[in-house]
């Protein structure tokens, strides 16, 4: 039997083009903010996990987990440090490892961070590095970029279910509106549907405004066993469910392109563990690296029937004030997407929401939140369910 775990502290950097900050500056800033948020001191940490997709390619730096400890002035503690990689899901995986280390009884306090420093390389290199999250030999090498792979999914969804180009665009419009309320977001500006639909084509039918930006940024959360959590914070947020799933790396190998089986696998387990159902969730963070992914996420998590995600978006249900607010943070689209940081930033947003500290983007009365973090074309999915204690 595993024991209950809570998040006791969160820390985030501003996301965006952070020319003045290096990889180590960013993750140190987030980590120290998280520790200051919860009165945990360095030597109380039993395990440290860092999610980062490709620091080696973006900055030539591997060994980032011990680098974090070193930069935070904690090298003399010799705390075990581990980097976790699952492309876009790296952050969510790091959180899950930290969660498991405490749930198993091995650790009492653990910290999970996520970081990516993406703007030190030209845009062309960003496209190539993101391609490493697909099947290198049978997708990337023959010309299929990451946006192209998601475009193949989007077209299939549109042709199978009648999802419209406008419905995809409304995901970006809504997330930019939410981002305008988030002082840490990369884009704090609303956009019109017209702007989205007239932005340059990247890979038809997906346009520039269907995609999350390349960003610099970091996020960190501190976790503790629930029975000691109250010595660190007045408002522990319980991790009531944690699920993870995987799928074929190549899109062409899958039976269906219009849903992510890895997400369903992860969600089933997280909901079962939390003894909750989709209708019990008040606020959601979904991995909208592309607009189509938010629609797939809504469907795969069970918030609506397969194929109905576009219509649900159109009704306004997924906006703050709607029945199912999705990505109040602005999502990857507007908050920014420093890849490894994303899964942690999602959960940090939920913690803010469940504490009632989300300011002008607060979802009223939020008691239970869910985060979906995915890597590749739905190759790795991590779902966490959080509840106010």
């Amino acid at each position: 039997m595993s024991r209950p775990v809570a998040i006791v502290g969160i820390g985030l950097t501003r996301f965006g083009e952070r020319w003045e900050s290096s990889l180590r500056n960013l993750i140190t800033e987030a980590g120290l903010a998280a520790l200051q948020d919860c009165k945990v001191s360095g030597e109380e940490i039993d395990e440290l996990y860092v999610g980062s997709m490709s620091p080696g390619q973006f900055t030539n730096q591997e060994l980032v987990a011990p680098l974090v400890l070193d930069s935070a002035g904690l090298a003399d503690t010799h705390i075990p440090t581990t980097r976790v990689e699952g492309a876009g899901a790296s952050g969510g995986l790091a959180l899950r490892q930290a969660y498991l280390s405490i749930a198993s009884g091995h650790a009492d306090v653990a910290i999970a961070g996520g970081v990516e420093k993406m703007t030190d390389v030209p845009e062309k290199d960003v496209t190539r590095i993101l391609g490493a999250a697909s099947d290198q030999e049978w997708e990337a090498f023959i010309g299929a970029t990451d946006p192209a792979l998601h475009a193949l999914i989007a077209r299939r969804h549109m042709e199978k279910y009648g999802t419209s180009r406008e419905q995809l665009g409304l995901v970006a419009v809504k997330n930019h509106k939410h981002g305008s309320l988030n002082p840490n977001a990369q884009f704090q500006k609303e956009v019109s549907l017209e702007t989205v639909l007239q932005s340059p084509l990247i890979s038809d039918p997906l346009r520039v405004f269907d995609t999350a930006p390349a960003s610099d940024g970091a996020a960190a959360v501190v976790l503790a066993a629930l029975d000691v959590a109250e010595s660190y914070t007045d408002r522990p947020i319980r991790v009531s469910g944690s699920g993870q799933g995987s799928d074929y790396v190549s899109l062409a190998a899958r039976q269906t392109l219009t849903s992510f089986a890895a997400t369903k696998h992860a969600a089933e387990r997280a909901f079962a563990q939390a003894k909750a159902q989709p209708k019990d969730v008040d606020v959601v963070e979904i991995h909208d690296s592309y607009t189509i992914n938010e629609i797939l996420g809504i469907e795969d998590l069970g918030f609506c029937k397969p194929g109905a995600g576009g219509v649900l978006t159109e009704t306004g249900a997924t906006a703050i004030g709607g029945d199912l607010p999705v990505n109040p943070s602005g999502g990857l689209k507007a908050r920014g997407h420093p890849i490894g940081a994303t899964g942690i930033a999602q959960v940090a947003e939920l913690v803010s929401q469940l504490r009632g500290q989300a300011g002008s983007r607060q979802v009223r009365g939020a008691k239970r939140g869910l985060a979906l973090n995915t890597g590749g074309t739905g190759v790795v999915s991590v779902v966490h369910i959080l509840e106010a204690v």
Partner: protein
């Protein structure tokens, strides 16, 4: 890509050779050493299977922001093709007007230059797919004859 990394995949890339599971007759491309249906029972028994290279487009995209090395081909079409043997393959679609490509279009494999390692590096060849000509359902307007290759400046 390093030369051996490409060379060891030449049968697949040049001739579209996949694998077949002798137990369930499932066909896979690219080749698999384990059948995902029969698993343990298939280990060491998977056989090479020559694919006919005919199928239909399941879904496609017109790429405007290219992959590294594909700059001269923009806009180009990528698709998932459902082969007659039942498996699916990721491929570029060539000899077709990008604006006229549709899901369901019958296509066939052809042999093409994929990319090259700089001016004096290795040239990689492999399969791409093109609309089927002649008696099939492909409207003639979709087909574009091959053009002389544009040279790098």
């Amino acid at each position: 890509m390093a030369v051996p990394r490409f060379w060891r995949e030449q049968p697949q890339r040049y001739r579209l050779v996949g694998t077949e599971c002798p137990k369930c007759k499932g066909v896979y491309f690219p080749p698999r050493s384990v059948c995902p249906t029969c698993r343990r029972a298939s280990v060491g028994k998977m056989r090479p299977r020559q694919l006919a290279g005919r199928g239909k487009i399941l879904t496609f995209t017109v790429v405007h922001q290219p992959a590294d090395g594909f700059e001269l081909q923009v806009p180009y079409v990528m698709a998932i093709v459902e082969l007659d043997e039942g498996c699916r393959v990721m491929t570029q679609i060539v000899n077709a007007d990008p604006g006229a490509v549709r899901s369901g279009l019958p296509v066939e494999a052809c042999f093409r230059r994929i990319r090259e390692d700089g001016k004096s590096g290795v040239i990689y060849y492999g399969y791409k797919f093109r609309p089927v000509r002649g008696k099939t359902a492909t409207p003639p307007s979709v087909i574009v004859e091959a053009q002389p290759r544009r040279r790098r400046a």
